[in-house]
Symmetry: C2
Subunit: 352 residues, 2 copies
């Protein structure tokens, strides 16, 4: 604590990212990165812009990237916003659409950054409890409130929400913004992008960090009605006009346009996930129905914290959350087949 | 206006960046970019990290860059913060140190983003008037207030503040944070970095965008006491944990370490500025005493707006601010000698 901190900063409870250890080389299954490299086209596009033009500001409106996303998704450029990772877009969206005088609804088990954003903007969260299977009842998301945010698939449970449920949310809450955070949607869930032109209150947020293998580049994007996108731009231009650098812009455009590579690597991750799930089931694990690039697993007899620590000692990093209701579970990112083979061998030994 | 915007977003008055026209090629003297390319070492370092590791998150703490800055400035890593451009650091600093219940002091003529940040955080600015020569009386910055921010040199006037004045500010206001925004300091003004270890209330902000020729990369940094840096980190980690991408991180480290290249290009810009100032004086212009990479000029008989438009027609872009007290002036970035030769020829023809 410092006398120089504002009351706001003194009150914050900052997010803690997954560890990036430097002590030795781990099989890193703890931050849901993609095990495959980015598209070769994206690599080439980035190399091509590492030149003297870096002395110049980037396009503050990232028009090239917005055009590429508009074309691919059959939307107008005015329905698209881009940011420095989907986390930055979430931060702008909480400011733009959630009225601090009313509670904002999200699941009690979800991406832990939401409560951090709420605190930053003085918003009171109203947590909607998932059931014992971590399933969400969309009909609980209504009444007097200031907005809704739900990841699809949810994190860290990996469980998807059917598009029919998203429609119910939008129909039940026409006067509030509903944000669907689709960071992991490409690994098997249904995107709500198809609903963007029908619902003025829908904002869909996606990222290059997971299915496009570009966590190191920091680019996210959002789809919504023109009025929502204008709101995001008002907020962004009151905070930082130039959020995406020239290299990230070039890499993002090429990654978006290389649909074939994206599909091939995504299918590989999904196939590996299905094999891992089968094997973990034979080992007695409880596993939520995952449509993400990670699985959420619990062993009936061995404590998750103990397993987490033992895996770490054996050189395998996974994520453990010491939070109520989920402290019996581990979140395990899907790596390459080789990495998952080692993971499964280690875990079989540990529980054996 | 949209019913979905929060009261905050509805109330904002966003910043408008300098234009980046795409209709034709201009001599671009409107956004204070450096006319020289980035360090060749920075170019090489960036190319070297365009590889498969981009699938992985960057170091959220940017330790390599913080180490390089610490070494160069004789400070501890705990006295350094880095961000996605100095604008992002300013946005975090307004949140971290300025109590919205009290007015924040800055000059009436200054970087126009300050009043935008103030609006974003519900802070009331108290504008301290510069005198007729745009000079600042530091003894006016005291009393009951929530903090101080001043650019050195000031923008768009280009006028530097002596280090003795910064000391007076810090001594007069020991209970409030004083932010010195040194975006342009390397072109001849005195940095306050030397005071960082003596004054717990001092935050100095710098950027790679100007003197390091990397506006396209979006990296800024701040120097301050450990408690101020901790405050910035609390705010950042409540907003976006991964603000600097892998490529920007590598380029920034190499740019910081290539001190010889930085000195050579900075000296060239300063030498060109001095020649331009001499020539403009012979043409009858009023010119503020610039220690920045731009000059702030006024012609006694020809209106600045008219000159701005005529220069644009002739393919030379400069910046005109339609604001009280400075609407007789143009802000002209210092380009290469060749670019400034064209600028001077055009302007001599226009006023002739």
């Amino acid at each position: 604590m410092s006398k120089y901190w504002s009351p706001l900063t003194a009150s914050l409870e900052p997010y803690v990212p997954g560890e990036q250890p430097k002590d030795k080389t781990y099989i890193k299954l703890n931050t849901n990165e993609n095990p495959y490299p980015p598209s070769p086209n994206a690599i080439a596009a980035m190399k091509a812009v590492i030149n003297e033009d870096l002395r110049l500001y980037p396009d503050p409106n990232s028009e090239m990237l917005i055009q590429a996303l508009a074309k691919q998704n059959g939307l107008s450029p005015k329905q698209i916003f881009v940011g420095n990772g989907s986390d930055e877009i979430l931060a702008f969206a909480f400011a733009s659409f959630f009225d601090p005088s009313k509670p904002v609804l999200f699941p009690d088990i979800t991406y832990s950054f939401y409560k951090v954003y709420a605190k930053f903007y003085g918003i009171t969260p109203k947590l909607i409890p998932l059931d014992e299977q971590f399933l969400l009842d969309v009909n609980q998301f209504k009444g007097e409130h200031g907005g809704i945010i739900i990841p699809n698939p949810n994190a860290p449970t990996a469980i998807p929400m059917p598009l029919a449920d998203v429609k119910v949310l939008l129909d039940n809450n026409p006067d509030q913004v509903v944000i669907i955070d689709e960071a992991y949607v490409d690994f098997g869930a249904e995107s709500a992008i198809a609903l963007v032109s029908s619902y003025p209150n829908l904002l869909v947020i996606q990222t290059l960090s997971k299915s496009r293998s570009l966590a190191g580049l920091r680019v996210g994007y959002a789809f919504g009605s023109e009025e929502l996108i204008e709101g995001l731009n008002r907020t962004k231009n009151s905070f930082n006009s130039y959020t995406i650098d020239r290299v990230a812009l070039a890499g993002a455009v090429a990654a978006i346009e290389d649909q074939a590579y994206f599909q091939a690597t995504t299918e590989k991750v999904v196939a590996t996930r299905e094999r891992v799930v089968s094997k973990l089931q034979t080992l007695g694990f409880i596993i939520t129905p995952s449509k993400a690039n990670f699985v959420f697993i619990s062993h009936p007899t061995i404590a998750a914290k103990q397993l987490f620590e033992q895996l770490r000692e054996q050189g395998v990093l996974v994520r453990y959350f010491a939070s109520p209701r989920i402290d019996r579970f581990l979140r395990v990112s899907i790596g390459t087949d080789e990495e998952m083979k080692v993971f499964l061998e280690v875990i079989e030994r540990l529980i054996g």
